[in-house]
């Protein structure tokens, strides 16, 4: 081993704490950076990214099987506007009971032979695909909490079929609530009802609603007026996804960027500190015959070897920890298969090598250029001229001398003080941000839970009729009642709208319970109808 190699290896082996600190700091920084960069990358138009990767359907069209047939739909797929299509898949709408609970909304169940295909490639997030009768794959974003092994009963259907959940999948446009093997659909149809077909289209041009409408019109040309039961444009799903993610993206991106900035600062500080403490050793190396260039190489290597170990472990840890984080991001973004792209691993690793190398180089280069006699004297003799004016000024302050001495130190090493201040600044931002976000989300969750009432009374089955009349009268009569309202909820599905819609009816002013009327009749989050027959115009138009 060469002289430099021996010095490097001794420096790494014998300075275990320093080596460990550099390795750990790099590990944590790289882990945070992989996560941060992964989140930032995943937050870049998540719906569009997922839609492109999964070849989402520009239009999901539901046909009445009584009004059209498979041949007609197959030939419609050859329309000039169509770039690719999937289907026709048989569709049934069926309402399940789970463990005796019948309070579930109808499911749109599609018979598909597999999750792949030219359009709307489904991502299996759990389990396997339904290939046998009696099996079902639930949409992870559906109304039923997906759980492998869960049994869905359909007692109102002929033969009272039961489906067992064997898989969980995600469709970027939420093209169905659940999927079964094609042969299963017949068993999910009420007697004498033909059910429907689902066609998934990708059009050559579908950037605007007009283009989607034009494409849909072309494929549906020649069909009877009642053949089309519903059309879902990808723009509707995109709008909903973008609205849902708009709240989260700034936070996730901010967290990601904070992680990256903190990582750079921490690694820079640690490496600069580690090299900086070795200035006397640098002086000795120069005194025994190391050139300044050799000194710099020794210290870069001494920083890079533990850093490299930290980088490798950090990339592994980052990817490992990213799994649950990305799964949460998938949930938030309604997309699938979010992973850390290999370029992120490479970029973070290269960035870490660069930062460690540059910081070590800059510090060692500076130390290497010190006069040898000055470097050797570090720690034994004071260095003149640095921060003297600040020391004189702080000495005049009416504070204990120990404090005034400390106050002047940052001026003696302004670059180090600046780096430290920046690290503390971003640390404070991160903590404030995290605590503030947590607190805000708590408030939001409290408001959305609508459970601020001191007492919640749930009428039994026999007293539902009284809930509308008797209970309000009784409550109003009691002097300790400040305010109350009653609510009834149900769910409904609307053709052309993915998923289901919650409908809540109130008996009185519910604003104090966290419900807020934003813009009645327009596109506010809450629509109100006061009379029987009022139209849900906003939802229907979407």
């Amino acid at each position: 081993m060469s002289a430099a190699g021996r010095v490097i290896s001794a420096g790494i082996r014998r300075r275990k704490v320093q080596t460990l600190v550099v390795a750990l700091a790099t590990l944590m920084a790289v882990t945070a950076s992989v996560l941060g960069a992964g989140l930032v990358a995943a937050s870049d138009a998540p719906f569009d990214t997922a839609f492109a990767r999964e070849r989402g359907a520009h239009a999901t069209v539901l046909y009445d099987a009584a009004q059209t047939d498979v041949q007609h739909l197959s030939s419609a797929a050859a329309a000039a506007a169509v770039a690719s299509s999937a289907g026709p898949f048989a569709v049934a709408s069926a309402t399940p009971e789970i463990k005796g609970d019948a309070g579930y909304a109808p499911l749109t169940v599609v018979g598909r032979p597999g999750p792949d295909g030219p359009v709307d490639r489904l991502t299996l997030t759990e389990g396997t695909w339904a290939t046998q009768p009696g099996q079902v794959v639930l949409n992870v974003d559906g109304e039923i909490f997906p759980e492998l092994g869960l049994r869905l009963d359909f007692p109102q259907l002929p033969g009272k079929p039961t489906l067992t959940v064997v898989g969980v999948a995600r469709s970027v446009t939420r093209s169905a609530s659940a999927w079964v093997a094609p042969s299963q659909i017949a068993g999910l149809l009420p007697a004498g009802r033909p059910g429907g077909y689902q066609m998934l289209y990708r059009f050559r041009s579908a950037a605007t609603a007009a283009e989607v409408d034009a494409g849909t019109a072309e494929v549906n040309a020649g069909l009877g007026p009642h053949a089309v039961a519903g059309v879902q444009s990808w723009l509707t799903a995109k709008e909903e996804a973008d609205r849902n993610t708009a709240l989260f993206i700034p936070f996730l991106v901010a967290f990601g960027l904070l992680g990256l900035i903190m990582s750079v600062l921490i690694v820079g500080n640690v490496v600069a500190g580690a090299v900086g403490t070795g200035i006397r050793r640098i002086g000795i190396l120069k005194a025994v015959g190391f050139t300044p260039g050799q000194v710099v190489l020794v210290y870069i290597a001494q920083a890079l070897v533990p850093a490299f170990a930290g980088i490798v472990m950090g990339v592994i840890a980052g990817n490992f920890l990213a799994r649950p984080v990305m799964a949460d991001a998938e949930q938030v973004y309604g997309s699938a298969s979010l992973t850390i792209a290999p370029w992120i691993d490479l970029a973070v690793a290269a960035g870490a090598v660069l930062i460690v190398g540059l910081t070590a180089w800059a510090t060692a280069w500076r130390a290497g250029r010190l006069r040898t006699v000055e470097a050797i004297a570090v720690g034994r003799t004071p260095r003149p001229g640095r921060g003297q004016r600040a020391a004189r000024l702080t000495a005049r302050l009416p504070l204990p001398r120990a404090v005034t001495l400390g106050l002047s130190r940052p001026f003696a090493r302004p670059a180090r003080a600046l780096a430290m201040t920046t690290a503390v600044l971003f640390g404070a931002i991160a903590v404030t941000f995290a605590l503030g976000l947590g607190s805000t989300l708590d408030h939001i969750m409290t408001a959305r839970a609508h459970d601020v009432a001191d007492v919640t009374v749930r009428p039994g089955e026999d007293s539902v009729a009284d809930a509308a009349t008797g209970i309000p009268s009784a409550l109003s009569a009691r002097p300790e009642t400040k305010a109350f309202y009653g609510e009834g909820t149900t769910q409904m599905t609307i053709a052309g709208t993915p998923g289901f819609t919650n409908v809540i009816a109130f008996t009185g002013d519910a604003s104090w319970g966290g419900y807020e009327l934003l813009r009645p009749g327009l596109d506010g989050d809450i629509e109100t109808w006061r009379n029987t027959g009022d139209a849900c115009t906003e939802e229907v138009q979407r």
Binding site: V288, G289, I376
Partner: protein
């Protein structure tokens, strides 16, 4: 007459805004001499030694070591000069505490291009000569001050430099260890090694050198030869 090993001509050095640490100093040292540079604290002794070793640069004047103008060399050239022509002993030893004794000693030779095995062999030979071979595999932190200074001497002699510079070599040692180091320097000089010792210690100067240069306020105030040691 052989060419001098050291030649200082009108050398001055001032740090920051203070008074000159060394002023118009001229000095010639011939091969084989053992010279003590004496003086009170702040008289410029260490400054003179650092200028000779190329650890510092003069503001004015010239410094020549073994025929090379030290004051005109850049850092890399100075490093190469120190590797081959100058051995240095410091008051606080300046050993690398993460290398073993034998590795510390072998380092200058390896840097000068000697193979590791040959360097280790030479280092062990020196350790034997200095009677500390049993500590070859120890780390400096486990040795006494006197033993550490012997290691530093061995390291300084590793490349067989024509000049050995010692800056307060007994300053951090107890009396017995100090005498021991003085004896060692004396033996080295007896073998023909040129030695320059900076010290406060009159006894050390008397025991291991034959010439005394006295500094006062940055100027050479006396330069005397002790004939008895001749």
């Amino acid at each position: 007459m052989p060419a001098p090993v050291i030649e200082l001509s009108d050398v001055s050095r001032t740090y920051d805004e203070g008074p000159p640490a060394l002023q118009d100093a001229s000095l010639v040292i011939q091969p084989g001499e053992a010279v003590a540079i004496l003086g009170p604290s702040g008289s410029g002794k260490s400054t003179m030694l650092n200028l000779i070793a190329g650890l510092d640069r003069p503001d004015t004047g010239t410094v020549t070591v073994d025929g090379t103008r030290v004051d005109q060399l850049n850092e890399a050239e100075l490093t190469r000069l120190r590797r081959t022509k100058i051995g240095m002993i410091f008051q606080f030893f300046n050993l690398l505490d993460d290398l073993t004794v034998v590795d510390n000693i072998a380092l200058p030779a390896q840097l000068a291009g000697m193979g590791r095995r040959e360097a280790q062999s030479r280092a062990l030979e020196l350790l034997g000569n200095l009677d500390i071979k049993r500590h070859a595999k120890a780390y400096p932190g486990r040795l006494s001050g006197g033993q550490r200074q012997r290691v530093a001497v061995a390291r300084a002699l590793m490349n067989r430099p024509p000049l050995l510079l010692a800056d307060e070599p007994t300053g951090a040692l107890d009396h017995a260890s100090g005498k021991d180091v003085g004896r060692l320097l004396n033996e080295l000089n007896a073998d023909g090694q040129t030695i320059v010792v900076v010290t406060h210690d009159e006894a050390l100067a008397e025991s291991c050198t034959h010439r005394t240069v006295r500094l006062l306020d940055g100027r050479i105030s006396a330069d005397t030869t002790t004939a008895a040691r001749r």
